[in-house]
Subunit: 205 residues, 2 copies
């Protein structure tokens, strides 16, 4: 299998992080840099269907895009450690927190960077208003994650799951606009201190 990945983009990092947690080392990582428009090359578009990374190419030629779909598929091949849930209810709670992590933190943070970092202007138009509105989403919902991490060591369950990976995989990208968890979020800061030491935190660069 081949994973088309950009070492600087946040979504492929979710897959690389999962691979590191599961010790998956038999997937060839093919560097596909968005800043060099490699995700818009005709050969890539013919495979992936969309100018987006990551994409996973199976040995039979099937290509799966969308980081979470790729991650769930890899979990089916490498079940341990379990990151998506061991029974229907646990799976539902983990998916709820994975989507909250994505929609209320990771994606807004990515869009805030995308719309404000001068170096990314080459990728398309930027909007300071949009960057600010995404920043307000993060600010609004950080207390939700802070409360959750007061009740649970990790976001989705009492162990690391996909929800933590989705949130943590975007923090490095957020650093480009100096994002950090604020001082009044001690639980998030403790969680991040744990996450930044995981093997996945260092993967794929």
């Amino acid at each position: 299998m081949k994973l088309y990945s950009d070492p600087f983009a946040p979504n492929p990092r979710r897959v690389l992080w999962l691979m590191a947690e599961k010790g998956i080392d038999d997937i060839q990582v093919v560097r596909t840099e968005t800043m060099k428009a490699e995700h818009r090359a005709p050969a890539y578009l013919a495979k992936a269907g969309l100018p987006l990374v990551p994409a996973l190419e199976l040995d039979d030629g099937t290509v799966i895009s969308e980081s979470i779909a790729i991650c769930r598929y890899l979990e089916s091949l490498h079940p341990e450690p379990n990151l998506f849930g061991r029974d229907p209810l646990e799976t539902a709670v983990i998916e709820m927190w994975t989507r909250r992590a994505e929609l209320l933190f990771a994606t807004p943070l990515m869009l805030a960077v995308r719309n404000s970092l001068p170096a990314l202007a080459t990728l398309g138009p930027q909007s300071p208003e949009r960057a600010a509105s995404e920043g307000r989403i993060i600010e609004t919902y950080l207390p939700l994650f802070e409360r959750r991490l007061g009740d649970s060591p990790f976001l989705g369950a009492d162990r690391l799951t996909m929800a933590d990976i989705v949130a943590a995989a975007s923090v490095g990208f957020g650093r480009l606009i100096r994002f950090e968890f604020p001082g009044d979020c001690p639980n998030l800061r403790r969680w991040w201190d744990v996450m930044r030491e995981r093997p996945g935190a260092k993967s794929g660069r």
Copy 2:
């Protein structure tokens, strides 16, 4: 179990649609209208954690929010007809198309309505620029869905799946700003003619 749902909001419709496809009739639907701020009532917030519908309350008091997490949980209780995939690869392809339907069509359409329909100004600030930018996302990616529906009768597989429900459940809301599939998208129009006759299309009003 109880489903907190707003008959006018697009995301709860995904759950109602799935319930109709599976013939699930033992869940009490509790009307929770966002236009009346019922999703911000303290009792609801204490349950759901966030001012968002839908939310599913289990008999043991556990509350799951996020429509797709709720739908996958309900599939575990009512496996037929299968909407999420029968094996890991089919599940991955369906999840890829479900996310494309959500991120490249349903959510942009919802945000276009939210940011432009005068009646929704009571829900919070609106931005014509944001509505236009969401409209451009829909326009950019409709050809992707049109091509897919040239190769396959449904979005996720050769039968109706969650991907179709996510896309179709938002069309009615889009009608509020007169959205319809354009004439140069015959496959999408054929697909919508099939979807609008499904039991789920009439559910929950």
